[in-house]
């Protein structure tokens, strides 16, 4: 579904050359929930933003469903972007529109007719469990509800891929779980390929089947979630697994 080959991104700034992504190779299968983990500044956000060309790669190719998006025209890119949904850490909803208006927005942009939009929005809000908030403004919603609107909006044009940029980092643990379950549901129901970046291994562990670990702009390991957590070479995962083992050990001791 997504095939990234020799992807490199270099920023030229006043401070000099910064290599944000260094020769990334990645293959994400159709219907997968793929996690990209790394610390802040590792390059995971840049990598995700390359997948819908919000960030233009310096070198390399990105194939989505067989089409190399680095080589297409601006018009084609617009078409393809409609088939790539994206959700954000800070939701990025339009404050002047209601929940209905926000979910309708991508459909309006795509030129869908009014009756069809209405039908679609109502279905989507039912899917994310926000039918009763249809006429609310984003300022009247909680963080979890805002992210649900974000998800409904991202699904409006029936995308094949859903890019998730730290979707739960601004949410409390309980809401995080419910949002992750919703994403999993959507993946099951529609077979949408989900790419999720996070610095939180708990999130990745809960939902992803395959993972790549990114550090200093390089992918230092990738594989199934089982492989990565059982036999990790990277410090970030090792630290995490040790902490989890410790806390589980203490839980056992406490219960004992």
């Amino acid at each position: 579904m997504i095939k990234i080959t020799n992807l490199t991104k270099i920023y030229n700034s006043n401070m000099g050359r910064i290599v944000a992504l260094d020769n990334i190779n990645l293959h994400i299968k159709k219907g997968d929930i793929f996690g990209i983990i790394g610390l802040s500044g590792a390059g995971k956000t840049t990598l995700l933003r390359c997948m819908n060309l919000l960030e233009k790669p310096t070198k390399g190719t990105i194939e989505i469903d067989g089409i190399d998006i680095t080589k297409i025209s601006a018009k084609q890119l617009k078409e393809i972007r409609r088939k790539i949904g994206m959700i954000f850490q800070h939701f990025n909803l339009l404050s002047h529109r209601t929940v209905y208006g926000n979910v309708a927005f991508p459909l309006e942009i795509a030129g869908v007719d009014k009756n069809k939009i209405k039908e679609k929005v109502i279905n989507l809000l039912e899917l994310v469990g926000l039918s009763d908030k249809i006429n609310c403004y984003p300022s009247e919603l909680s963080g979890g509800q805002k992210q649900r609107v974000g998800i409904a909006r991202a699904l409006a044009n029936d995308p094949k891929v859903l890019l998730c940029d730290e979707p739960t980092s601004a949410l409390d643990p309980k809401t995080t779980v419910s949002i992750l379950e919703l994403l999993k549901d959507i993946n099951n129901k529609f077979g949408i390929t989900i790419v999720l970046i996070s610095h939180d291994l708990n999130v990745v562990k809960k939902i992803c089947s395959n993972v790549a670990v990114i550090e200093n702009g390089r992918i230092i390991e990738q594989g199934s979630i089982f492989e990565i957590f059982n036999n990790s070479k990277s410090d970030i995962v090792k630290n995490f697994t040790q902490n989890v083992i410790k806390s589980e050990f203490f839980e056992v001791v406490n219960i004992g």
Binding site: K78, R81, L94, F105
Partner: protein, 217 residues
């Protein structure tokens, strides 16, 4: 007394006519100017350094010319546009020219306040530049844009007082000709009172509209 009232009434109408016509023209041209200033800036959706520098310089030049001088410099241009260079209608030309860059800057500032994440989300959905401008930038910044128009209108009331220089009439002109030159202090006071009232009213209406549209934001 009846004569005084007539004078005040016709001058008030002249001022209102000048101010509203120039606010209208300034909005039609100043809002697109503000949009251009913002979207062509570095890091924005239509980044274009040369165009941005040119527009910005023109705006700065027009904003640095004192209005009294602008009135005179623009006489040939006004004659070309409206066929005459004196009178109330003629005064609308320099008033608009002064207000366009002023409002342009206010609109630019208003648009900068729009959360860049929202613009990005629209781009990620495949929105065109025009759709981003019309469906994201302007509606998201609308309360600040309305505030900017209010400020422009109030500034124009002040500027319109100088329109007397080219026979533009209005309350300012009345105050100078009768109140100052003929020592009719009462007319001076009346005009000032009307001007104060006018500013209060415009500010109040502007605030109301802003409050109404940002009720739930």
């Amino acid at each position: 007394m009846a004569e005084t009232i007539n004078l005040l009434l016709s001058s008030t109408l002249e001022t209102l006519y000048m101010v509203f016509a120039s606010v209208f023209i300034a909005s039609i041209l100043g809002i697109p100017l503000g949009v251009l200033l913002m979207v062509t800036d570095k890091g924005q959706i239509l980044q274009n350094e040369i165009l941005n520098k040119i527009l910005s310089s023109i705006v700065n030049i027009f904003r640095s010319i004192p209005f009294v001088i602008l009135l005179i410099i623009l006489i040939p241009f006004t004659r070309f546009l409206v066929g005459k260079s004196i009178g109330t209608t003629a005064a609308i030309v320099p008033l608009s020219i002064a207000a366009i860059p002023f409002l342009g800057r206010l609109v630019e500032t208003a648009l900068r306040e729009v959360n860049s994440g929202v613009i990005e989300a629209a781009q990620a959905m495949g929105a065109s530049y025009m759709q981003i401008i019309l469906k994201v930038l302007i509606p998201e910044a609308l309360p600040s844009i309305i505030s900017g128009i209010t400020i422009t209108a109030i500034n124009l009331i002040g500027y319109s007082a100088m329109a007397g220089v080219i026979g533009g009439g209005g309350l300012g002109d009345l105050a100078v000709r009768y109140g100052y030159q003929r020592f009719m202090l009462d007319i001076m006071l009346y005009t000032v009172a009307i001007l104060v009232l006018m500013v209060q009213l415009i500010q109040m209406i502007g605030d109301r509209i802003v409050k109404q549209i940002s009720k739930y934001r």
